[in-house]
Symmetry: none
Subunit: 131 residues, 4 copies
DNA sequence: GTGGTCTAGACCACC
DNA sequence: GTGGTCTAGACCACG
């Protein structure tokens, strides 16, 4: 797998893992229906605790990113990821808020902020080969 | 003061407080040189512990948003907030990354994302009366 | 541990603790990657409060002397301590200034002052066994 | 007077005042027998509290740097500042210790440290005109 | 009256 | 078992 965790980070491991999987989907490396490694395997590969992987998977299942079959294992939701709704957009806005406020205080131009965002979008939507 | 904390939130109280102060500065409600309430006063007003307020203040001082005088109390950095540097922009980008990835997965259009950001900028830069 | 605090001293306990750890590193008793006792353990050993230890650790982390892992505990920065920069040297000079001035007033010869400094350097750089 | 206080500093005002006077003596701007401004005058000039000036003077008197006559006012000890004794040297050493340890950790060369010290000595012992 | 230090003790998240 | 957060309450230095 392409997943890389930072054991030094302040961010919890299961959060990092969730983010990496989500980024994998955003990049198109993981597509609906794709199987993920078994919990046990992934934990071993990453050198982390079983519980940590399980927690990440469970939360992603709850957000409908993953489906966990007792037998078939873990797959990216074959029906695709649920579209963003108003509730999601509201939460997203509140999450972005402190970054905007902080940036404003430190004199970041709105266009610089927007360009950075565009850059991130570009990073995820470009074809893999162009990486 | 205009500060409102959510005691139920998973976000630590001192983080919420920090954010609210930063947002107050971004909005122009707090200007360089302005005094903040005394630690004990603010703690009582907000119904939280003095040490929680202290932690928020101290971290903001370390980020050069505030100055803390042993006797005179706490003021918004009279020299203004230090301009963003490359290091800040890099951290900002990494912080934004998961939101972009997550949004992409859920089919948020880049322009919707950008518009939401613009909206936040507008919210902070408009005159108070227009609120 | 080799740490000894003076409960009577005017110097704050957490400052004493910080200094003792830094001296431990300077002496080579603590090396990059070494683990320090858990916060609670050390607090109990020293007969002081857990929060006092935490404050010392956290400030040393901020100065890049320590790394604090939520689970693994506290270790001396495995990458080593960051080299002194111009800013540090400037602060150091201003901190030394009053001692030089005071010593001059009391007729301390510059060479005596320098020799005392050399002696301190020697004290920290000699092999442990020679103590 | 040549005294300049930093109201923003973490260092207590009375400490700053003490240091500035000591530095004045070290520089030779203040000589044994010289009169200092009255407490009231100095406090007014510096824009600080009477108590603050009084505390600085009292502590300097206790260290035999000053004599305070009820009538004649405050003068630099006419018999000169008492020579450093072994006790002073011991205290000095313990005060210098953390700076040496900290510098060692951050890779400061002993000679750089010594040169900085020499520079400070030079700064105080050079003739005023050469400033 | 201001912030700074310290204590005692609780509950939580993470692994 | 680890550190992180929060509370309640004490005493001190400074001005």
């Amino acid at each position: 797998m392409f997943i890389q965790l930072d054991l030094q980070s302040k961010e919890p491991l299961y959060e990092q893992l969730k983010n990496q999987i989500v980024e994998g989907i955003a990049r198109g490396r993981l597509k609906p229906g794709d199987r993920l490694p078994a919990v046990r395997t992934l934990a071993e590969d990453l050198g982390i605790n079983l519980h940590t992987v399980r927690k990440a998977f469970q939360e992603l299942q709850q957000e409908n990113f993953l489906l966990i079959h007792r037998q078939k294992g873990v797959v990216i939701n074959p029906e695709g990821i649920p579209e963003a709704d108003a509730a999601y957009m509201e939460i997203l806005k509140e999450n972005l808020r402190p970054f905007v406020a902080h940036s404003l205080c430190r004199g970041v131009d709105m266009n610089d902020f927007l360009n950075m965002t565009k850059q991130l979008f570009a990073e995820y939507t470009q074809k893999e080969g162009e990486n």
